[in-house]
Structure formats: structure tokens, C-alpha cells
């Protein structure tokens, strides 16, 4: 998005032993910060929203300076007009959904649009405690949007939801992204959310940005894999679609000369579909012909064998793609796995998540 204002973040904040040291420009529509818990994601958003004051530095939105330690400028949160969606939702428990949404509303008609987009018109008279987790997050997003913010801050809005709910909320985030012409600053520890939503990703580690770039390139780059392992290893593959059969409920992807079967998804045949597979969801087998229900058996060789704490992390080369697999030390010993061993990666179709809405 060319006309969106550039956001300048250049500040320091120390909390006890932890130091957040940020220096970057946000120039795309959806900028995402990826990091493990404790890497400073929430601190970053709190500084941007104004609920936390940095020790030193400058925060600017376009030409407007929101915080500058040198000139002692510090705009209070209520003057910044940044919608903030919290991980825990933080809906006001004593107000109904409608009252929550109206709380920050600037005498606008946007509220009804927001209610439509997030499909919460049936919930308006309820109290937050009568909502499910997914409903609560949709209301939280609606509340932040109804005030007509000039930027949206999202702090792991999906983290408190289980994976099937996440998949259902992501399309709403896409609607929001399309319907509101405002920049979004999104923080998360989940690769898949970044790939699904972000235009630019920043990797945050121990309070510092250690890499940034276009999400898909950044997150699949081999140099980033060590960080990926920190954030909970997820394999991201972009594979061509060879078959999509709604009747049988499957979609087939091509990985070299082998096939990867996933649950049916409405993808164009011949197009590339990014998918995520958690490293814990892959089973290692030495034989290909097991009588089991899992649909996928990918043949590959172990390139690297790493001991990471309680687990062994294998990097397995499958048709030119590296798959990370997490297993126990005991499994490694029993199967006598070594670098160079030929193995089969057994993957349930349902453990493969397409990353497009």
C-alpha cells in the first residue's frame, strides 16, 4: 500500500534486566513481529500504543511525532487513536457487547460496518462472559475498529484460541485488512499467522530485531531456521497443487516425485499453495509399508541431527525441501537414527494446514 503513512519506531525501553531496543520503519500495510514469549512483543506494542513510556527515542506516525524523549513529547494513549486488540481480549465485563463496541466510537457509522464484517450482530446484547473464545476475539477486534483508528495494533489476537478456531478467525482478519485502509501492526509467535497475513515480517529476539523481510522468503530461509525452532518449529512449504477433489475431500500437492495429500481446500490446480506442518506432527518410520491411516509417507534422508533440550530435532531432506521433525531421544536411539539415514516421514493429512483463506 503506497499511500499508507510510514511509521517510525526508534526507541529503547528497559524493564528490569530486559532491554527492548527497536529501530525500524513500517512501510507496508500489515507489518508483523515474530518472536517467542519474552522477546518483547507486548512491550513493543505497549510503547507504540502509549500505555508504556519508552526510556528514550522517538515514535512517529507519518509526520506526527507521538513520542520523542529529546523534545519531551509523549502523546497519551487516548490521543493516539491506535486500535489495540489484546491477546486476552480485555472486553469490559460490566458492559454488553454493544456497549463495548460503542465505548470508543467517534460518533461514526463505522460500528455497523464492523459488526457486519465480523458477524457479531447476534451477540450485541450479551455480556463478555457469555461469549466463546472466538466470539470474544471478534468483538475485541470490532471494538478496536469501531473507534476508527488510524492504525491497528494486534497482540497475538489468536493465541488464546485453539487451532480450528484460529483458522476460522483468520478470514475475518483478511476482511478487516481489505475493508479498512489502515496499517496493521501484528505481533505473534506463530509462523502460520504471519504467512497468512503479513506483508513484512520482523524477527524479534531478546528485545532486538534480528532479521526482516518479505514473510515467505524470510521464514523459509535456512538462516532463520534456528529462530524458527525457538518459536515452535513449523515447516512451511510452498507446493504446486496437482489435484483438488471436493467429493473425496482431498487436495493433492506435489513434492518432487512424491505426493502430499491434505484435506480438501479450494485451491487452483497448478498454483502454489503454502502449507504449514508442525515439527511435532511428523512421525519417523524406517519402513514405507505400515498398515496405518496416515495418508502421507515422504521418503527422505536425515541431513542434520540436533539435540535441543529434551528433544531431538531432525532436518530431513525431502526432494530438495528441508523438513524439521521433533522426536524424543528415546525414539532416536531405538531407531538408531544418524545423519545420512534414509527414513519415511509419516504425516496425517489433517496435520497439514493450508496457509491461505
Amino acid at each position: 500500500m503506497a499511500d499508507s503513512p510510514k511509521i517510525k519506531l526508534d526507541f529503547r525501553k528497559s524493564l528490569g534486566n530486559f532491554i527492548l531496543d527497536i529501530n525500524c520503519r513500517l512501510e507496508t500495510k500489515v507489518s508483523a513481529f515474530l518472536g517467542v514469549s519474552g522477546s518483547g512483543k507486548s512491550t513493543l506494542l505497549n510503547c507504540v500504543s502509549g500505555t508504556l513510556t519508552p526510556d528514550e527515542g522517538e515514535i512517529a506516525f507519518g509526520d506526527e511525532i507521538l513520542f520523542a524523549s529529546a523534545s519531551k513529547i509523549n502523546l497519551p494513549p487516548e490521543k493516539r487513536r491506535f486500535g489495540y486488540v489484546f491477546q486476552e481480549g480485555y472486553l469490559f465485563p460490566h458492559l454488553t457487547v454493544a456497549q463495548n463496541i460503542r465505548y470508543g466510537q467517534q460518533r461514526s457509522r463505522k460500528a455497523s460496518i464492523v459488526v457486519d464484517i465480523l458477524e457479531i450482530s447476534g451477540l450485541l446484547q450479551r455480556y463478555p462472559k457469555q461469549l466463546s473464545g472466538g466470539q470474544r476475539q471478534r468483538v475485541a477486534i470490532a471494538r478496536a475498529l469501531a473507534m476508527e483508528p488510524r492504525m491497528l495494533l494486534m497482540d497475538e489476537p489468536l493465541a488464546s484460541l485453539d487451532s480450528s478456531l484460529k483458522a476460522r478467525i483468520i478470514p475475518y482478519l483478511h476482511h478487516v485488512k481489505d475493508a479498512f485502509d489502515i496499517p496493521i501492526l501484528y505481533v505473534t509467535h506463530a509462523f502460520s499467522e504471519i504467512l497468512a497475513l503479513a506483508d513484512e515480517a520482523f524477527l524479534l529476539s531478546d528485545g532486538k530485531i534480528i532479521a526482516n523481510g518479505e514473510p515467505h522468503q524470510l521464514l523459509t530461509a535456512p538462516s532463520v531456521m534456528p529462530i524458527a525452532q525457538l518459536t515452535g518449529v513449523e515447516n512451511i512449504l510452498s507446493l504446486p497443487v496437482t489435484l483438488s477433489d471436493k467429493a473425496r475431500g482431498v487436495t493433492s500437492l506435489e513434492i518432487g516425485s512424491q505426493q502430499l495429500v491434505i484435506p480438501y481446500t479450494d485451491a487452483e490446480i497448478g498454483g502454489l499453495l503454502p502449507v504449514a506442518i508442525r515439527a511435532e506432527d511428523i512421525i519417523i518410520s524406517l519402513a514405507p509399508d505400515l498398515p496405518i491411516s496416515a495418508r502421507n509417507m515422504l521418503h527422505g534422508t536425515i541431513q542434520v541431527l540436533d539435540v535441543v533440550g529434551e528433544r531431538t530435532v531432525l532436518s530431513i531432506l525431502v526432494e530438495g525441501h528441508l523438513l524439521s521433525v521433533k522426536i524424543t531421544h528415546e525414539a532416536r536411539q531405538q531407531l538408531q537414527l544418524q545423519e545420512g539415514s534414509a527414513v519415511y516421514c509419516v504425516i496425517k493429512a489433517n496435520a497439514i494446514n493450508p496457509l491461505r483463506a
Binding site: 505497549n46 500504543s49 502509549g50 500505555t51 497519551p76 494513549p77 487516548e78 493516539r80 487513536r81 491506535f82 486500535g83 489495540y84 489484546f86 486476552e88 480485555y90 469490559f92 465485563p93 460490566h94 465505548y103 470508543g104 467517534q106 471494538r143 478496536a144 473507534m147 495494533l153
Partner: protein, 221 residues
């Protein structure tokens, strides 16, 4: 077995004084409770200690200190006597002051506990939605702390109704003027007016029971 005019006077004085004291202390209690629950500032511990002191001091001691302060020779009392020619001690005003000081810590305790239970994250969320600190106070902090606020108010009010030690020190026990329920019971016992004692004790017990019951109703889920 009729209630006597003197008893009616004592009962109505008690209620009048407790209500007046509530009107005066409630806004101050909201402010002090909020400061203690939500703010950090130099002297916070000192403020807390000062406010809570009457809770731990024997009421008779609080009353004596007030007598010194408010008497014709006292700093405050002397000033008022010289400027307005009014003597505070042994008047209805003195009763109101005495019960306010004694009941204030109970009021503040309740408000403070209530406000401490309101997560700062919710208040911050309201700020990001464009609410000024004042709006946050009235629309988030106070409504969410209402159990504590009501609890503190009812406890403080009942304390005011029955206050004895500080009142008798600073306002005396003048029937029809400064004699509250508690003081009337004290006098009646001394004079051996058993029937009057029974009646007053019965009324006091009912009032206290209802107040406590109301507190529990509003503060327990």
C-alpha cells in the same frame, strides 16, 4: 412500652449524623481509595498510615486528639472560634467530625480493595479507545469496583451509626443535642432504665444486622 421522645431524638441524631458524615466522606473516600489503589507517589505510605490510624487507635484516643485540635485552645478550633465565634466541640458538628474520622478508614478500605481488583489492563484498554483518565475512572474503575465501594460505604455508615468513644470525648453526651444512640444506651444503663436499654439495644442490633446483611448481599456473588 412506647419509645420516648429522648430515644427518638437519639436515634434520629445518629441517623442524621451518619448520613451527613457519609455525604462528606464519600467523595473524599473515592479519591483517597483511588490514589492508594492505583497511583504511586511520594508519601503514599504516610497517607495510608494516617488514613488507617483511627482503625487501630482506641476511639477514645482519637477523640482526645480531636478534642485538643478542635477545642477553643486548639489549632483548628482556636482559629474557627476567633474568626467565626463558633465553638465546635460539644456540638452536633463535633459529632459529625468524630464519626467521619472513625468511619473513614472502613470506607477507604472497601473502595481501595474494590479498585485494586480492577485490572490495570482494562483501564489501559479504555485509554487506547480514546477515554481520558477521568472517563476511565467513572466508566471502568468505579463500576467495576462497585462491590468494594458499596461494602465500604455500608460498613462505614454502620460504624458511624454506633460510634461511641470519639463522640463522647469531643462532643460530650448532651441529651437532645449530641446524644446519639450509643451514648443514650450508655446513659440508660448508668441510670438503670432497663426498659429503655432493651429498646435501644434492640433497635441498634436490628440496624447493624440489616447493614451487615446488605453488605454481604452486595459484596458476595
Amino acid at each position: 412500652m412506647r419509645i420516648t421522645p429522648a430515644e427518638v431524638a437519639a436515634l434520629s441524631l445518629s441517623i442524621k449524623v451518619a448520613l451527613l458524615s457519609l455525604v462528606i466522606t464519600f467523595p473524599l473516600g473515592l479519591l483517597v481509595g483511588w490514589l492508594l489503589a492505583k497511583r504511586t507517589f511520594p508519601g503514599k505510605v504516610l497517607l495510608n498510615t494516617l488514613v488507617m490510624c483511627p482503625l487501630v487507635l482506641p476511639p477514645i484516643v482519637s477523640g482526645y486528639l480531636l478534642l485538643i485540635l478542635l477545642g477553643r485552645q486548639g489549632i483548628i478550633g482556636g482559629f474557627i472560634y476567633q474568626v467565626f465565634g463558633i465553638e465546635i466541640v460539644f456540638s452536633e458538628v463535633a459529632v459529625v467530625i468524630a464519626v467521619s474520622i472513625i468511619s473513614f478508614p472502613l470506607l477507604v478500605r472497601g473502595i481501595m480493595t474494590g479498585m485494586e481488583s480492577v485490572p490495570v489492563e482494562l483501564e489501559n484498554a479504555a485509554r487506547t479507545l480514546g477515554a481520558s483518565p477521568m472517563k476511565v475512572f467513572w466508566t471502568i474503575t468505579v463500576p467495576m469496583a462497585y462491590r468494594g465501594i458499596i461494602g465500604g460505604t455500608i460498613l462505614g455508615f454502620s460504624k458511624s451509626l454506633g460510634e461511641f468513644g470519639a463522640t463522647i470525648m469531643v462532643a460530650g453526651n448532651i441529651p437532645g443535642k449530641t446524644q446519639t444512640m450509643a451514648l443514650a444506651i450508655f446513659s440508660a444503663v448508668h441510670l438503670g432504665e432497663d426498659v429503655s436499654v432493651y429498646r435501644l439495644v434492640f433497635i441498634s442490633t436490628v440496624v447493624a444486622f440489616v447493614a451487615l446483611w446488605l453488605t454481604e448481599r452486595f459484596t458476595l456473588r
